[in-house]
């Protein structure tokens, strides 16, 4: 009961304080307008640049997707004529080109591919916005890489020549590189939204 009385007393005093206070706005209308305009100006560059950034990122995504599709077409053509590829590789091996290629460069290329694969694996699986063209290119590249992995496994099991395996490895590295470019462009486009 005593507590209740105290509460009422406190509440009464608080309300008396609220009613009796001489309130003032912190500044007048002119200052309010000046601050509002200042905020609008501060927000302006972002608002204006954002669509431009998005357009650039989208254009980059389309360009990279185009390059990836061109690479795919080239790869498909070469896959349709495997004997010719093997013949070319064999010819190259006979001519001693592969033997002249430094082993360090191969190692570097493999390391680069592995690094790209690690980066791709770390990317979020569900992008904010999915663009049909770029997504189709990514899916096709992923399918081709998977098919190439199967082919390489089969070639290794069949005891194919190292030159043939090197050629396939090289093609795989190109596909992974294209995939990384498309994914990176996608990421930029999503970030610009």
């Amino acid at each position: 009961m005593h507590d209740d009385l105290d509460e009422k007393l406190i509440a009464r005093r608080l309300r008396a304080r609220a009613d009796g206070s001489q309130d003032h706005a912190p500044y007048g209308w002119a200052e309010f307008k000046r601050r509002r305009d200042a905020r609008a100006v501060a927000a302006w560059p972002t608002g204006r640049i954002r669509p431009a950034l998005f357009a650039i990122a989208a254009a980059a995504a389309v360009l990279v997707a185009g390059i990836a599709i061109a690479t795919l077409s080239h790869y498909r053509a070469s896959m349709l004529a495997p004997s010719r590829t093997v013949a070319k590789v064999d010819a190259g091996a006979d001519a001693g080109h592969n033997s002249n290629r430094p082993a360090a460069a191969d190692r570097l290329a493999r390391q680069r591919t592995r690094a790209l694969e690690g980066w791709l694996a770390d990317l979020p699986h569900n992008p904010t916005v999915v663009r049909v063209g770029a997504h189709a290119a990514v899916t096709r590249l992923q399918d081709q890489i998977a098919a190439l992995d199967d082919l390489m496994s089969a070639e290794r099991a069949a005891g194919s020549q190292p030159a043939r395996l090197d050629a396939l490895e090289h093609q795989r590295a190109q596909l992974v590189s294209s995939l990384a470019q498309v994914q990176y462009a996608e990421m930029l486009a999503s970030a610009a939204l």
Partner: protein
């Protein structure tokens, strides 16, 4: 039911319509009528003056931006009060603010900074309440003010804080206990003097 002063300030529909139409004189008139009470409310909930000014600016900007959405079912002041309170509580709930003031919902410790909202016209009695309020945590102060002065229910306060009704009740009980504790010696002293 206690009705706050902000909700009591009369704003004519004609003035609101003109402000909606973008007439600057009407907007300035609304600003002049409601601005002082809005700032007073914000200062009650957020002690820091610079932050309070920022929140005031936000609130008044939102008022004019969303004036077209105002349907006139409640007084404009009540609608604006809701915007101001929501903005203040968003600030109080923000991780930045919590980290800055080591804010803890369940902490009984008084705030590290003490702010007195004293004007020359403040009588001694209310000055004591001011001082006692300044010993509360930001959350406790906000709950006391919203419940006792603004007339919010526990359900409304709980909803604003995104917590349960018992949270609002326990915060109010703790805050009032602290206020009683702070005011008690002064009351006793006053009695013995008389």
């Amino acid at each position: 039911m206690v009705v706050s002063r902000l909700a009591d300030i009369p704003i004519s529909n004609e003035l609101i319509e003109r402000a909606r139409g973008g007439e600057e004189a009407a907007q300035a008139a609304i600003y002049g009528s409601l601005g002082p009470a809005v700032f007073a409310l914000i200062r009650r909930l957020v002690a820091n003056r610079a932050v309070a000014e920022d929140l005031f600016q936000d609130t008044m900007m939102v008022l004019f931006q969303r004036l077209a959405e105002f349907r006139g079912e409640a007084p404009l002041g009540a609608w604006l009060r809701q915007i101001a309170v929501t903005r203040c509580l968003m600030y109080l709930r923000s991780p930045w603010h919590r980290a800055r003031l080591h804010w803890d919902m369940d902490d009984d410790a008084p705030p590290s900074t003490t702010v007195f909202l004293v004007t020359p016209a403040t009588p001694a009695e209310t000055l004591d309440v001011e001082r006692a309020m300044a010993t509360l945590t930001p959350v406790g102060r906000a709950v006391v003010w919203l419940f006792e002065v603004e007339g919010y229910s526990h359900e409304e306060i709980a909803s604003l804080f995104g917590r349960s009704v018992s949270f609002s009740k326990s915060q109010l009980a703790r805050a009032l206990a602290r206020l009683r504790q702070t005011l008690a010696p002064q009351e006793e002293e006053a009695c013995t003097t008389i």
